[in-house]
């Protein structure tokens, strides 16, 4: 197996994740798309670990999984807060970030 087949798979996954983040209106779906991005990164890490024949890639992938869990927790809490304040989690309605 060549390295690039994994890396390109991860690249496609990453791009799909970005697409999801940019287009989904539902806050939960945006967070799910972020998980796709993180997963693509994990595939890269593990693939490089196998390529270099060491375990560092695996170790970092495990760390990324842990961080992803933290991210989902905080992200969902924020979505819940947004829901409570606006009765909606539609990101396209959020336009307060205007200077």
């Amino acid at each position: 197996m060549i390295l690039n087949q994994f890396l390109l798979l991860a690249a496609v996954l990453f791009s799909l994740g970005v697409y999801g983040v940019l287009t989904r209106r539902n806050g939960v779906l945006v967070l799910m798309s972020v998980e796709l991005i993180l997963n693509a990164v994990n595939i890269n890490l593990v693939a490089f670990g196998a390529f270099q024949d060491n375990v560092q890639g695996d170790v970092f992938a495990v760390f990324v999984i842990a961080v992803a869990a933290a991210e989902v927790g905080v992200g969902l809490a924020m979505v819940l807060l947004m829901y409570r304040n606006r009765k909606s989690i539609d990101f396209s309605e959020v336009d307060m970030m205007r200077g």
Partner: protein, 232 residues
Amino acid sequence: MTEAFLLAQAVEFDVASNIAFAIISIVMLYSAFKMVTTGNVVHAALYLVIVLAASAAVFILLGSDFVGATQILVYIGAIIVLFLFGIMLTKAQLGDDDSVASEKRSMGALVGTLLFVVMAFALVDTFGNDEINFGDPEPIAFTPSTVDASDLPTPVREALFISADAGEVELTQAQFDTLEPEVQRRVPGAEVFGNNKQIADAIFSQYIIPFEAVSVLLLAALIGAIVVARKE
């Protein structure tokens, strides 16, 4: 074993795993695509499960069983449940979530394609056809021991010509060495580790500080999530 035999085995292994990879990646990319386009929120979560399971399969294909197992436990076991909770608590319509503006869609598609093209160019340019060399498997460690013949798995008994009612038998290193690797793994007393041992060593020695930092991060995220989400 001759050189040709080894090569043939390697090629065979490669073909098999490439077929596996093709199936996994097709399933994964299809699910990922459906996940980011489907109008149904719950379906999207289920597609995400498939993507995550597929990437766990990719990890196992790459020889990282531990990461694969963690992926299944943490992601599919915990994170997806969180997402489903999130979907339910926010009372998102379980039906279609279609009305995504077309201009937004083309914007996302443009950025995503651009991103992929740049990354693909960089990857092909840098790594070309570099092979992943899985290396020779390390010899399996074995401690000679005395076992009851009936406890031995059938392939081991057959290879060593031991009958099931032979009572206590002593297994020696010389006997062990004659066995095929697949059979060796099944001998009681053989130490079978993937790279789990090395990962454990790495996490708890070289990467102990990042490990602790991650645990503090999890704690902070826990507190943060409670503070953000609780009702005043």
